[in-house]
C-alpha cells in the first residue's frame, strides 16, 4: 500500500517532469525451471502509449518473460510493475489484454458466446458486453460472423477472434504474441493497421514477433533478448543508427590516411580504391570526409548504409557477424535499394540499403 502511494506521487511529479510514466517496468526478472534457467535477467522499461517490440530467437526466453508479466508463471527472482502495480494485481489485470501465441479456444462456442464469456471474466456488465462485442468484431474484421461457431472459423479468423478477445475491455496495455503468424499478407497489414489505431488511442502495445519487418514498421521501441538476457534495448531509431557502415570510394591512400580513417571507425572491408568503415554516428561522416580532404585524399564517393533491424538483430544475437563476414566470405553487391526482406521501400535520400549476399567459403 505504501508502495502504491509512492508510485502515485511519482506519477504526480511526472506531470512536471518530462519522464513518461511506464506501462511495464521490470528489474532483474528471472525464471528457473529446476536446473534450467529460462530467463536470466530481464530489465526492461516500456513507456505508456508506445508500441514495444520484443525480439529474440526461439528459446531466448521471450514467452517465459511474457508469461511472468501476465501472471501465468511466477518469477524466481526480480520484480516488475505493470501499469504501476505489482505483478499479479487484479486491478492491473482489468486493464490488460492478451493474445497468446497459438490461441486455443473452446471451439464449440459461437463467436459471440466466446467473447461474452471473456467479457464476463473481465467483469464487464451485460450492457457493456452487448455494446462492446459487435464493436470489437467489427474492428478485427469479423463483423457478421459472431453467430458462427468457432469450429467453422479459419486459422486467420481464429486469430482475429483472439485479438477481439484481447481488446474487449478496451485495455491500457495489450500483449500480442505473434499476432500475425496465422495470417496472410492482407491480414498482416490489417493487424498492423489495428496496432497503429490502438496506439493512436493511447494504448500501449507489447508486440512479440519474429517478423522483423513487422517490428520495424510498427514499433517505437525494441528490446532484443538472447539466452535469457536483454542484449539490446532502445528506440528503433537509436538501434538502427547506433552504428552504420559507410562505403568510401577514394583515391590513393597512404598508411597515415588509413590511420586517420580508423580514428573514426573500424575498417570492415577494403578493396582497391574502396573502403567500408563502421561508424557510430552519422554526424561523424562529414567530419571524416573533411579530415580526408585535408589529408589530401581524393574522395569520389561516400555512401552511408543504415543497418536494417535484421542486421542489428543478427549482430546482437550472434555477436557482430558482419565482421566475420567482411574478413572471410563476404560478397557485397551495392548499391541495391532493397529492404531487409527483399521488399522495395523508400529510404531517406542519403540512406541506401545494401543487399548482402553471403557465400560461405568464398574467400576474398
Amino acid at each position: 500500500m505504501a508502495q502504491l502511494t509512492r508510485t502515485e506521487s511519482a506519477e504526480g511529479e511526472a506531470g512536471r517532469l518530462p519522464a513518461p510514466p511506464l506501462a511495464i517496468e521490470t528489474r532483474g526478472l528471472r525464471k528457473e525451471y529446476g536446473e534450467q534457467v529460462a530467463v536470466h535477467d530481464v530489465t526492461i522499461a516500456v513507456p505508456r502509449g508506445e508500441v514495444f517490440g520484443f525480439l529474440g530467437p526461439n528459446g531466448a526466453g521471450k514467452s517465459t518473460t511474457v508469461k511472468m508479466l501476465l501472471g501465468l508463471a511466477f518469477p524466481t527472482a526480480g520484480e516488475a510493475r505493470i501499469l504501476g502495480q505489482p505483478l499479479g494485481a487484479v486491478g492491473a489485470k482489468r486493464r490488460i489484454g492478451f493474445l497468446p501465441e497459438q490461441f486455443r479456444f473452446h471451439e464449440w462456442l459461437r463467436g459471440e458466446e466466446f467473447l461474452d464469456f471473456h467479457g464476463q471474466l473481465y467483469g464487464l456488465s451485460r450492457a457493456e458486453r452487448r455494446r462492446r462485442i459487435p464493436e470489437v468484431l467489427e474492428l478485427v474484421g469479423l463483423g457478421g460472423r459472431g453467430r458462427d461457431r468457432l469450429r467453422t472459423y479459419s486459422k486467420g479468423m481464429l486469430q482475429r477472434a483472439g485479438l477481439a478477445q484481447a481488446l474487449l475491455n478496451d485495455p491500457a496495455l495489450v500483449f500480442l504474441d505473434e499476432p500475425t503468424s496465422a495470417l496472410d499478407p492482407i491480414g498482416r497489414r490489417e493487424v498492423r493497421d489495428i496496432i497503429r489505431a490502438l496506439k493512436a488511442r493511447g494504448m500501449t502495445v507489447f508486440l512479440n514477433s519474429h517478423l522483423l519487418s513487422e517490428v520495424e514498421t510498427v514499433c517505437d521501441r525494441v528490446a532484443i533478448v538472447d539466452r535469457g538476457h536483454v542484449v539490446r534495448q532502445g528506440t528503433l531509431k537509436e538501434l538502427l543508427q547506433a552504428s552504420l557502415d559507410v562505403d568510401l570510394t577514394l583515391g590513393a591512400l597512404d598508411d597515415a590516411a588509413l590511420r586517420r580513417i580508423e580514428e573514426y571507425g573500424a575498417i570492415v572491408a577494403r578493396e582497391a580504391g574502396a573502403l567500408s568503415v563502421r561508424m557510430d554516428d552519422i554526424e561523424e561522416v562529414p567530419r571524416l570526409v573533411d579530415a580526408l580532404v585535408r589529408a589530401g585524399v581524393a574522395v569520389y564517393g561516400v555512401t552511408p548504409h543504415r543497418r536494417s533491424l535484421e542486421d542489428v538483430f543478427l549482430g546482437a544475437v550472434e555477436g557482430e557477424p558482419s565482421e566475420v563476414r567482411s574478413t572471410q566470405y563476404e560478397v557485397r553487391i551495392h548499391p541495391a535499394p532493397v529492404g531487409a526482406f527483399g521488399l522495395p521501400h523508400s529510404p531517406p535520400p542519403f540512406v541506401l540499403r545494401t543487399a548482402y549476399c553471403v557465400l560461405p567459403g568464398a574467400q576474398r
Binding site: P100, F103, R104, H118, G123, G162
Partner: protein, 161 residues
Amino acid sequence: MKALVIARLTFREALRKRMIWGVVLLSIVFVALYAWGFTQVRDEFLREAARQGARGNGPGQILTLDFVSTIMVGLGFYTINFLAGVMTIFAAVGTIAGEVETGTFQAIVPKPLARWELIVGKFLGFAGMIAAYIALMATGVLITARVVAGYTPRTSCWRRR
C-alpha cells in the same frame, strides 16, 4: 462471481463430452434392469409368502415386502454412488491439466480473477453436473420402488401415518 462464470462454462463443456452420454445411456439401462429385477424379487417374495401361508405358517412376521424393498433401494443407491464416482473421475480427470496443455487457460489466467476462483469454478461446474445426475438417478430408483412395491423410504420427513 467470476467463479460462477467458470462454473457455467465447465458445466456446459462437461455436457458436451461424449463419455457423459455413454454414462447416461448405461444409467438408463441400469434403471430398466433394476426395475425388472425389483419386479422379479417382489414376485418371488409374494410367491414364497403365499406358499408359506398355504402350509399354515402364515406370512413372515420379520421379512415383510417393505423390508425387501428397503434392501433393494439400498442396493440401487449403492450402484448410483458407484456410477457417480466413476462419472466424476472420467468427467473431471485432467480438466485443469488439460486446459493448461491445450492453452485455453492462457487467455483465462491473465484475466482479472484470482486463481482460487478458477479452481472453485471448475469444481462447482462439475459438482453441479454430478449433483443433477445423482438427483435424476435417485428419482429413478425411488419411483421404481414406489411403482413396483408401493414402497417409499421412511424418513423423519416422509413418515407415513
